[in-house]
């Protein structure tokens, strides 16, 4: 397929991978960055985009997304999820393996890769399961899954309770150059909890999950990374002590990375009051002190990246009593606006850091193409209007699901063009 060259003129290019923040022209030819400089000459056949007033950045990457296919296509499909990603400014996503059947063998990895390519919107990088059937018993074929396209292994949603198995995963993964990704949760402590253990759970009569359930597994994983020399990536860190433990591990030079979700950055367990199932997720929304610590962790780089844990659920499933509703919220179409509004515009984070946390870091941690606009890199670009104000209206999501706790929030900043491999895969319709 021949892709028309794309020339984005006069945008503010923010690319921390090259230490860039200046007004430049960006030319994409044959799916890759061909020129990035002032006054790029006219390119034959090129579509030109006026970048004046817009921010041009390496395409955003979300390292934690549930696309639900195969098996739960009523919640999301690879196609609908990839389109939602593009609408949210993401040019690539990592797909979690807790599908039905789980992504735990090379054939299923291959299916997700192929379907992602067929859809051809945002790039889809599957993660394979750590254990066969995500049962926490025996290792999957890491090597063959990596050859088929898996970028990491994780039993996300089902914590690896067996520390011996986790040790072996951290050892075995090293030969294939992938990190082991963990949803840190000691199930013997979180038991049948459905929200954070605290004053709100005591008031509402809901079963609580204490911070310690998460802290213990974060510390365990760090110790196992130290023991094995392996690379551990900790998902959706939500606790103060968890952030502290990762900060100390990094200071000791261990290969530990972590992610923060927009909901843990911006909400607390008060959002559950009234039994709001759209505020039910795992790990749960925690206390204000925890939220502040996650923010601090993201700002100082203890938490390397923002990842949404986009977890679509059908309307009927969330329309239930709190205990009976599934965990998870969608995040792809709100993350950029939330981080820009609540961190960049409040002056707590500069644009460069935002791009670092939402594009450069995930590319680096998972060795993905992208995360940079260097000449020769893939033409994955997010063009972003920092002035555009909008109200989160779940009905307008391209995701199949609507389960967001941010409905009705007014945000400033929205993607205008999402470009993957030099092709515009999504653009905002101009009124």
């Amino acid at each position: 397929m021949i892709i028309r060259p794309l020339l984005i003129r006069g945008g503010r290019v923010v690319d921390p991978s090259q230490g860039l923040d200046e007004v430049l022209d960006l030319l994409l030819v044959n799916g890759a960055v061909s020129a990035l400089s002032k006054n790029v000459g006219p390119a034959a056949e090129a579509r030109e985009i006026d970048g004046n007033g817009l921010i041009v950045m390496p395409g955003l990457i979300d390292a934690h997304v549930h696309l639900r296919e195969p098996g739960q296509e009523h919640k999301e499909t690879i196609a609908s999820g990839a389109r939602a990603a593009a609408a949210g400014g993401f040019t690539a996503v990592c797909a979690m393996p807790n599908t039905d059947p789980p992504i735990d063998d090379p054939a299923t990895v291959g299916f997700v890769m192929a379907e992602g390519k067929r859809v051809g919107v945002a790039r889809v990088y599957p993660m394979g399961a750590i254990s066969v059937g995500m049962k926490g018993e025996a290792l999957t074929e890491f090597g063959e899954m990596v050859e088929a396209g898996a970028v990491a292994v994780t039993d996300d949603g089902r914590p690896v309770m067996d520390s011996g198995l986790m040790r072996m995963a951290l050892e075995y993964a090293q030969a294939f150059g992938i990190p082991v990704v963990d949803h840190p949760e000691d199930l013997t402590l979180s038991r049948d909890g459905s929200m954070n253990e605290g004053l709100v759970s005591s008031r509402l009569g809901l079963r609580g999950k204490p911070n310690a359930a998460e802290d213990i597994h974060i510390v365990r994983d760090i110790l196992l990374a130290e023991l094995t020399g392996g690379r551990i990536h900790l998902q959706h860190v939500s606790t103060r002590q968890g952030v502290d433990a990762i900060r100390r591990a990094k200071a000791r030079g261990l290969q530990v990375t972590g992610e923060a979700s927009p909901h843990h950055l911006l909400l607390t367990d008060e959002a559950v009051d009234g039994y709001r199932t759209e505020a039910k997720m795992n790990p749960p929304l925690r206390s204000p002190e925890d939220r502040d610590a996650v923010q601090e962790g993201l700002l100082d780089g203890t938490l390397d990246m923002v990842a949404t844990d986009h977890a679509p659920h059908h309307y009927d499933e969330k329309e239930a009593a709190f205990d009976d509703a599934p965990n998870g919220v969608v995040g792809l179409e709100t993350a950029l606006g939330l981080i820009h509004t609540h961190f960049v515009l409040t002056g707590r984070m500069d644009l460069s850091t935002m791009v670092e946390r939402m594009s450069v870091a995930p590319a680096r941690v998972f060795s993905l193409p992208g995360g940079t606009l260097r000449v020769g890199s893939p033409g994955d670009v997010t063009v972003f209007d920092p002035q555009g104000e909008w109200v989160v209206d779940p009905v307008r999501f391209l995701s199949k699901s609507r389960n967001t706790p941010f409905a009705g929030w007014t945000l400033k900043g929205k993607p205008r063009y999402t470009v993957v491999g030099g092709a515009v895969v999504w653009e905002e319709k101009q009124k």
Partner: protein, 323 residues
Amino acid sequence: MNQPVPVLGKDLIGLEPLSREQILTILDTAEHFKDVSERKVKKVPVLRGKTIVNLFFEASTRTRISFEFAQKRLSADTVNITASASSVVKGETLVDTARNLEAMRIDMVVMRHASSGAAKFLAERIPSHVINAGDGRHEHPTQGLLDMLTIRDHLGRLEGLRVCIVGDVLHSRVARSNIFGLLKLGAEVAVSGPKTLLPVRMEELGVQVFPRVEEALEWAHVINVLRLQLERMKGGYIPSLREYNRFYGITKARLDAAPRDILVLHPGPMNRGVEIDSDVADGPNQVILKQVTNGVAVRMAVLYLLAGGKPEIAHTVREAGES
């Protein structure tokens, strides 16, 4: 048009959202309904023509029958639905069950459900009045109200009284309704039990915590003894019923050692010899059956007020229907 402000609003979900005045109005209204049950003809026409569904997703004998008596004595038409007979077992969602009932034009739903928040969930989705007859571990407001009415009957007041809830507070909807209601009416509230069965951060709700029941008995004017669900042992919360009785059971010896006479309540059904010994359950300090009697009056008051009955003319039921 000047619509009078409903005394209770549309629903009774819990005591936490109610004001002190609303709770007092229910208790005072219940006083008028007490003697309906003492007459030869136990019926007044207050809810004639109203249709009420008792929707019980969890087994209940006492609460369901108490509601049913209250409804029948107010002349309402009632239908009982229990989980085993309902279409829930056929996979119907709670919303669909409620909408189907609604389509048959009902006036009120009394619901018990195993999930905290279920009553609020239902109330937000149907126009009928919803009365929470117990939602998970959240609230059981009519139980809280009848407990308060019983305490007030026997001690003449609630303000300034020290009430301790003893036992499995963690899993108890009765405990939460007592805590929210008693605090609003100016009582001091404490909880006592093994720490495995107490919710976290109770102090921040304004509740004292006594890890040993002896300390609680030294402090309290009133104790409300919670039922210990036998499955708590399997859940690992306590090592054995024997040990529970040994350290937390309300025994005659413990009551005798207390510095004052303590009024003993129990929401039932009792596990004699576990949380309460028989000589206490049948002893002079307990008002357990008074609670049951008051339960009917409180539920009549709640039904009356939710249906739009005016508290200031509730006394007329004393004359109404008298034979």
